[in-house]
Symmetry: C2
Subunit: 141 residues, 2 copies
């Protein structure tokens, strides 16, 4: 495996000592900024929920137990700003606002779902690992 035999994203480099990719994850770099944005407490859930459908504000709020009005607004605004979510306001009384994924958001959906599914699939193994970790702690103490 030599440099140039593979198309790498611009922030990757191939180290000479190991045949592995190394990420350039400098503080404040674009990738870090975007990762911090989408990998937060709520964004992933919002994206997963908007799969193939449009949802209204209150509907999203009911679907994500524990989220406050303020945080849902903040999260949706950030996702809108990043071009991941589209916001449509209907000039009715009372107002109606719909949210859906943009094409860019849709391109992110597969990955997000993969992450959620991995989490679901492996929750038992993780619970076991935690038990074993606890056991080891008690043992050495």
């Amino acid at each position: 495996m030599k440099e140039g035999t593979l198309e790498l994203p611009g922030n990757c480099r191939l180290t000479s000592n190991y045949d592995v990719l190394q990420w350039d994850v400098r503080e404040g770099c674009e990738v870090r900024q975007i990762l911090d944005r989408i990998a937060d407490k709520w964004s992933l859930l919002v994206i997963a929920l908007l799969d193939k459908r449009t949802m209204r504000f209150a509907e999203l709020r009911r679907s994500i137990e524990g989220i406050s009005k303020r945080m849902l607004t903040t999260t949706l605004r950030q996702l809108e700003r990043d071009g991941i979510v589209e916001r449509t306001v209907y000039a009715t009384v009372p107002p109606k606002v719909e949210y859906n994924l943009t094409p860019l958001g849709n391109s992110l959906l597969d990955t997000v779902q993969a992450l959620v599914i991995w989490t679901e699939t492996n929750q038992v193994r993780i619970a076991e690992a935690r038990d074993q970790y606890e056991a080891r702690q008690n043992e050495s103490a």
Copy 2:
């Protein structure tokens, strides 16, 4: 598409009104806990870096610009507790500690890399979306 024709993870339900999956993301549920753990500021980067190799504490710290000793320790301990990272201590002076992904961690790697690559691939589109969002804000003001 009818219920039962597809194997769904236990936390999914099929709503009757739409042919889409709905996630059960109740506060404090297993999936939410695990998602909160791995989708944080540093865990994704640590997992991505440990791809196919072992790294020492200081090496990880150098690779992730901006992370403090304390946060790297905390992140690694959580990942170890969840069975995603394995920690090996060599009883030498000075001490040497190596970290690598467990099989469980490796099963998560593809998804994490997909997320990082998506971020890299789409950073220009996101930057454009932000500019347009700003423009719209100024316009309406």
